[in-house]
Symmetry: C2
Amino acid sequence: MARWQPDARGRLEAAALALFNERGFEQTTVTDIAARAGLDKRTFYRLFGDKREVLFSGGSRLEEVLVKAVAETDADPFETVVTAFRQVADEIFADRLDLVRVRQTIIDASPELQERELRKTNGLAATVAAALRAKGVGETTATLATESGVTVFRVAFARWVAPGNDASLADLIAETAAELRAVTSSPATPPARV
Amino acid sequence: MARWQPDARGRLEAAALALFNERGFEQTTVTDIAARAGLDKRTFYRLFGDKREVLFSGGSRLEEVLVKAVAETDADPFETVVTAFRQVADEIFADRLDLVRVRQTIIDASPELQERELRKTNGLAATVAAALRAKGVGETTATLATESGVTVFRVAFARWVAPGNDASLADLIAETAAELRAVTSSPATPPARV
DNA sequence: GGGCCGATGTCATCGTGTGACATCACCGTA
DNA sequence: TACGGTGATGTCACACGATGACATCGGCCC
């Protein structure tokens, strides 16, 4: 038999996406995925840390592109993060909306996968915060600016993926960022002092 | 054998905390935990959804108290969430700092547990956002105010738990909230150094 | 006492994830 | 062409997480 089929990784990802979409995440075993890709269960675990990971391989590229954008942007920390997301967003997701939607539907249907998604987002935030600190931004400011920026991205992304949407991801990010500014801007009562 | 020992739930939680602290989360099996509590593995799974859940049972109380505080507070959305956290925080955590520290050390040492913590926090945010919407706050505003508020809480909580800290959780929340306001306020205001 | 009923224990089973080891294809080299 | 090395893959065995099915114990009500 054809040992050494090309692009084992990509075939496993495609097989997993298809099976998850057909039967659901829980109802699909790793052996099923491997079988559809013409491979063995053990090979799956050599390429992916666990069953969930097969859906999140793209995240690393987003991370590196984002870090680069943060390093090259010159603005206040929060604006920097938001701008970086805007620059990067369309480049990565724009031409794959249908695929992204399928993927997101799968994730939204499984608490296990949502857990992993949160972890990935959290890791992304940590990396971006590190990139900010590397530019001389203080610890706390870096963390808060990044968390806020990631929140904006998450909300905007959810809107973008939602059925019926036709706005660009970049525009939605800008819009959401403005709304977050409005929400957190000081009201009548100034914050209590330390 | 003494079937029907009292407070099976509490004993399992205590046993789990002790074992996780001694050997680590991965090195402890559910059978180990049940054995130390004088119970069976199956009983553990009847009381807790899975192995991780045994560390997160307290979250539900925080959730309900928080929702109540949100409902009773009258201010703009973000301020409401922050205030609610401040009111509730000490009441729940103040007298258990040592226990909380042990628990947090365990969680910080295990990616699996961090994942679950993120999920719990996320669920909390969703609940709080719903409480805001119940007061007439718009969908997006509720989400953004809540996410920002939870971010403030997370950062403040981390500071509070950190070794050497002696400030109160409520004060740290207020302080962190002020910093977040500063970070996200005006795009034109550049305190380049921090 | 007798019987109901919830909490617990026992048994069997599937799936995840991993270590150890065998096997195959490819490639450079003599 | 034969040879040996190397890396990717397959095979086997196993511990542990998680769950369904069923038995059993203890208290409680009549």
